[in-house]
C-alpha cells in the first residue's frame, strides 16, 4: 500500500507513533523510509529507522545502514535499536562499527542488538567492551550478553 512520504512523515512525527500499525504497511514504505532517515528533523529520521527495523527484510537493512551513518546520535541510536529485530548477517555486520560508536547510548543499544547472535566477531567486540568501555552500565550489559551467549 503506497503512502505519501509527507503523510508518512506526519504519522512518524506524532507524540506516540503507532509503529505496530505502521509496520503493517510492509516493505512498500521502505523507499520512503530510506529518504526519511536522512530528514533534517532527527526525530523523524530516528522514527523512520525504528519503523524500518520493525518492518525487517533485506531492504530494511539497507535503510538501517544509511541510518547508522547519520551524523545525529539520535538516528544512530535508533538504528542500533532497530537492528535488534533484523536477524541477518548483513545486520550483524552493521552492528560491529556501532559497538565502537562515540555515543554511549549507541553502544548500549548496539550491545543489545549483538545479543543472541552467534557471531565470533561480535563476541570479540563484546569482550573488548566488557573490559574497556568507560560506562559501567554498558560493561555490565556486555557481560550479561556474553554470559547468555556462552550459555546458549
Amino acid at each position: 500500500m503506497a503512502v505519501p512520504t509527507e503523510q508518512l512523515r506526519r504519522l512518524l512525527n506524532a507524540d506516540e507513533p503507532d509503529y505496530v500499525t505502521l509496520a503493517r504497511l510492509g516493505p512498500s514504505v521502505l523507499p520512503q523510509l530510506a529518504q526519511l532517515v536522512q530528514h533534517r528533523d532527527e526525530y523523524v529520521a530516528a522514527n523512520a529507522a525504528s519503523l524500518a527495523g520493525m518492518i525487517g527484510g533485506a531492504q530494511a537493512t539497507q535503510v538501517l545502514a544509511r541510518a547508522a551513518k547519520n551524523p545525529s546520535s539520535h538516528v544512530r541510536t535508533a538504528a542500533a535499536g532497530a537492528l535488534r529485530h533484523v536477524k541477518s548477517a548483513a545486520a550483524s555486520r552493521l552492528i560491529a562499527p556501532l559497538l565502537k560508536d562515540s555515543d554511549k547510548n549507541v553502544r548500549k543499544f548496539a550491545v543489545k542488538a549483538a545479543a543472541n547472535r552467534p557471531n565470533p566477531a561480535l563476541l570479540a567486540e563484546l569482550d573488548e567492551i566488557n573490559e574497556l568501555d568507560p560506562e559501567p552500565a554498558i560493561r555490565s550489559l556486555a557481560a550479561n550478553v556474553l554470559a547468555r551467549s556462552r550459555r546458549a
Partner: protein, 581 residues
C-alpha cells in the same frame, strides 16, 4: 603680681572676661591671673576655681573642679559661646555597645549657674509686674545644642546580626564575625564603656577636689571645645566609646519564637535530619559536621515556604547515650535540642530574615530512651517536620488540583519545563484543574537517559499502551519508575529523559501503583499535558488537531491552546489523581 588664683582653663582671660560682660545685669566677679578685678559687686558665692597656664596644663584631661557645681538642667543662659568638638567619622563597627550620647547645656567654667534676679515685689496697690521676659542670648552665643549639630557625623545605621562589615575595620581591632556586646575594645587605650563616675587617670590629689556642693558637673558636659582656646575639660581623650563612635549598637538577630515543649516522638518516627556525633557530655554543635547540615535544612525550610506544603512546625528532639543518670541525660538532651534550635533559627534568619517568626519550634528531650547502635550515634539531635496531613485547602478558582513531581534526567531541549507546565495550565485551568509542582529532583541515571520501551517478550512491539497501567513493561522502564521520592499515592511523577527507543515524544505507561509519564527532550509544549491526560483516563481523539488528545501529534495542533471537552473534564474529575481542593 603673682597669680593668686588658679582655675581650670577655659580660654584666655580676656575672652572670658569679655563674654562675662555680655550678660547684662547678672554680674560676677572674676579674678584673672593677672590680677584684674571687677569692681562690680559680688552677687553670688564666688566659686573657688583653679586656673593654670596653658603651658602648664597637663595633656591628660583634667576634671573640672568647681564649687558650687551646678546640676543639670540648669536655668540661665550659656555664659559663653562654645562649639562642640567635631566627632571623627565612624569607620567600621565598634566592638562594644554604644551608649547614646547625652546632650547637656553648655556650661561656663564656674558651672554655668547664673542666678535669676530676685523677684521684685510690687508695692501695694500697684499693678502686678509683668513677668520679665528672659534676656535674649547674645548674638554670638549659640543656642543650647538640643539636637546633634550639623557638623557632627550622623549615627551609623544599626547593623543586623551577621551582616558582613561594609567598611574596613579599625586598624588594630580584630574583626568579629558577630557583634559581641561584651567584647572590650582591642587596642584602644580607653575604657570599654562610658562610666560617669569613673575616676580619671590623671586626676590630681584629693585635696584639690572641691567640696561637694549643690551642683555637680557631669563629665560629659565638657565634651565641647570652647571658643576660649584649644583646651578641653572633661574627659578629653579619655572619652569613652560613645564619644568616638556615633553608631548605635548593632541590631541583634530577630529573636526566635519561644519553643513549645512536647513529648518525645515515638521510636521509629522518621526524622527529616539527624545531627549525631555530639561530644560526650557536651551540647556544642560541630562547626564541620552540624552547622552545614543545619544551613542546608534552613534552606530547605525557606524554599518550602513558597510551595504548596510549607514547613511551619519543627520538632527538635535531643538524645544522649546511656552513660549517666536518666535525669541528667534528659537535661543534656534538652540542652542539645535548644542549641540546635538556636543555630537553626540563626540559619533561617540568614537565609530569609523574619522567616522564623512563622515557624513553631517544638523542643523535647528523649534522654537515653532511644539509643542507637553506638554511643556516638546515640548522642544526637533529631529534627522532624510534623507537617500537615495534605495540601493546603482551597485553590480557587479551581475545583481540583493535580500534583506533579518532576524527576529530571535530561533537560528538555525544545521547550523548557516551565513552558510545558505553563502550557499545561493553559489547557487544564479553564477545565477547573490547578497544576501544582510538588517537588523537583535531578536524577543522575546515565543508563536510562535513552529509555528502552520495547515490550519484553515482544521485541518488535513497543510498550506504551493505553490504558497506561501495565505490568508488561521493559525492565528499564520499571527501573526508572522506582524513583518516587516524596511522592504520595495520588500524585504523578514526570520523568524527563533524552529519548525513548523506539522514538516517542512521551509515554504514559507506568507500573501498577506508580502513576507517571515519560517526556522526551524533543517533546512539544503540549506533550506533558497530553500524556498526563492519558494517565487521567483520556484516550486519543482521532483526527481533531484542535484537541489536546489528538492522535495526530501535539506538534500538529492547530488553534492553540488545544481544547478539553466537557466529557473529558468529567473523566479527569473521576480520576483518583485529581485532588479536590
Amino acid at each position: 603680681m603673682s597669680t593668686p588664683f588658679e582655675f581650670e582653663s577655659w580660654g584666655s582671660d580676656a575672652e572670658f572676661g569679655d563674654d562675662m560682660h555680655e550678660f547684662g545685669d547678672t554680674e560676677t566677679e572674676w579674678e584673672s591671673e593677672f590680677g584684674r578685678r571687677s569692681r562690680r559687686p559680688r552677687q553670688f558665692v564666688r566659686p573657688r576655681i583653679v586656673r593654670r597656664r596653658p603651658s602648664t596644663l597637663s595633656r591628660a584631661p583634667q576634671r573640672p573642679r568647681f564649687w558650687p557645681r551646678p546640676r543639670f538642667p540648669v536655668a540661665g543662659r550659656p555664659a559663653s559661646p562654645v562649639r562642640p568638638r567635631p566627632r571623627p567619622a565612624v569607620v567600621g563597627r565598634p566592638p562594644f555597645p554604644i551608649r547614646p550620647r547625652p546632650i547637656f547645656p553648655i556650661l561656663p567654667p564656674w558651672g554655668g549657674w547664673i542666678p535669676e534676679p530676685p523677684p521684685v515685689t510690687p508695692p501695694p496697690g500697684a499693678p502686678p509686674a509683668q513677668p520679665k521676659p528672659p534676656s535674649a542670648p547674645p548674638p554670638s552665643a549659640e543656642p543650647f545644642p538640643m539636637e546633634p549639630l550639623a557638623d557632627e557625623p550622623m549615627a551609623a545605621e544599626p547593623m543586623a546580626a551577621d551582616e558582613p562589615m561594609a567598611a574596613e575595620p579599625m586598624a588594630d581591632e580584630p574583626m568579629a564575625a558577630e557583634p559581641m556586646a561584651d567584647e572590650p575594645m582591642a587596642a584602644e587605650p580607653m575604657a570599654a564603656e562610658p562610666m560617669a563616675d569613673e575616676p580619671m587617670a590623671a586626676e590630681p590629689a584629693a585635696q584639690d577636689e572641691p567640696p561637694a556642693g549643690e551642683f555637680e558637673i557631669q563629665p560629659e558636659a565638657f565634651a565641647f571645645e570652647s571658643d576660649f582656646g584649644e583646651f578641653e575639660s572633661g574627659l578629653g581623650e579619655l572619652e569613652t566609646g560613645w564619644g568616638q563612635f556615633e553608631s548605635s549598637p548593632a541590631a541583634l538577630p530577630a529573636p526566635c519564637p519561644p519553643p513549645v515543649l512536647v513529648k518525645c516522638p515515638q521510636r521509629g518516627t522518621r526524622p527529616a535530619d539527624i545531627l549525631d556525633g555530639f561530644q560526650f557530655d557536651r551540647d556544642t554543635l560541630s562547626a564541620t559536621g552540624h552547622l552545614p547540615r543545619i544551613s542546608a535544612l534552613a534552606r530547605q525550610i525557606v524554599q518550602s515556604q513558597s510551595s504548596a506544603r510549607p514547613i511551619r512546625t519543627l520538632l527538635i528532639a535531643g538524645h544522649t547515650d546511656a552513660a549517666g543518670s536518666e535525669r541528667y541525660n534528659t537535661g543534656l538532651g534538652q540542652r542539645r535540642a535548644a542549641a540546635a534550635m538556636q543555630e537553626l533559627c540563626k540559619a533561617l534568619e540568614r537565609v530569609r530574615p523574619g522567616v522564623s517568626r512563622g515557624i513553631q519550634f517544638q523542643l523535647t528531650s528523649c534522654g537515653e530512651q532511644q539509643t542507637r547502635g553506638t554511643p556516638a550515634q546515640s548522642r544526637r539531635v533529631e529534627i522532624f517536620f510534623p507537617s500537615t496531613t495534605g495540601p493546603t485547602r482551597g485553590c480557587p478558582p479551581y475545583r481540583e488540583r493535580i500534583r506533579l513531581h518532576l524527576k529530571i534526567l535530561v533537560q528538555p531541549t525544545r521547550f523548557s519545563i516551565a513552558t510545558m507546565l505553563q502550557s499545561m495550565q493553559q489547557v487544564y485551568g479553564p477545565a477547573g484543574f490547578l497544576v501544582e509542582v510538588a517537588s523537583r529532583e535531578n536524577l543522575r541515571l546515565p543508563a536510562l537517559e535513552v529509555l528502552d520501551v520495547f515490550c519484553p517478550g515482544h521485541p518488535s512491539q513497543m510498550c506504551c499502551p493505553f490504558p497506561c497501567a501495565s505490568s508488561n513493561l521493559n525492565r528499564e522502564h520499571v527501573a526508572l519508575f522506582q524513583h518516587r521520592n516524596n511522592v504520595r499515592p495520588n500524585e504523578l511523577v514526570v520523568y524527563f529523559v533524552r529519548k525513548t527507543e523506539p522514538g516517542l515524544n512521551g509515554c504514559c505507561a507506568y507500573p501498577p501503583g506508580r502513576p507517571g509519564v515519560i517526556v522526551a527532550s524533543i517533546a512539544s509544549r503540549w506533550t506533558l499535558a497530553h500524556e498526563v491526560g492519558h494517565v487521567l483516563g483520556l484516550p486519543h481523539v482521532r483526527g481533531q488537531l484542535d484537541r489536546l488528545m489528538t492522535d495526530g501529534g501535539t506538534n500538529n495542533i492547530t488553534n492553540p491552546p488545544p481544547d478539553l471537552v466537557r466529557s473529558e473534564t468529567q473523566t479527569m474529575q473521576q480520576s483518583s489523581l485529581t485532588i479536590p481542593c
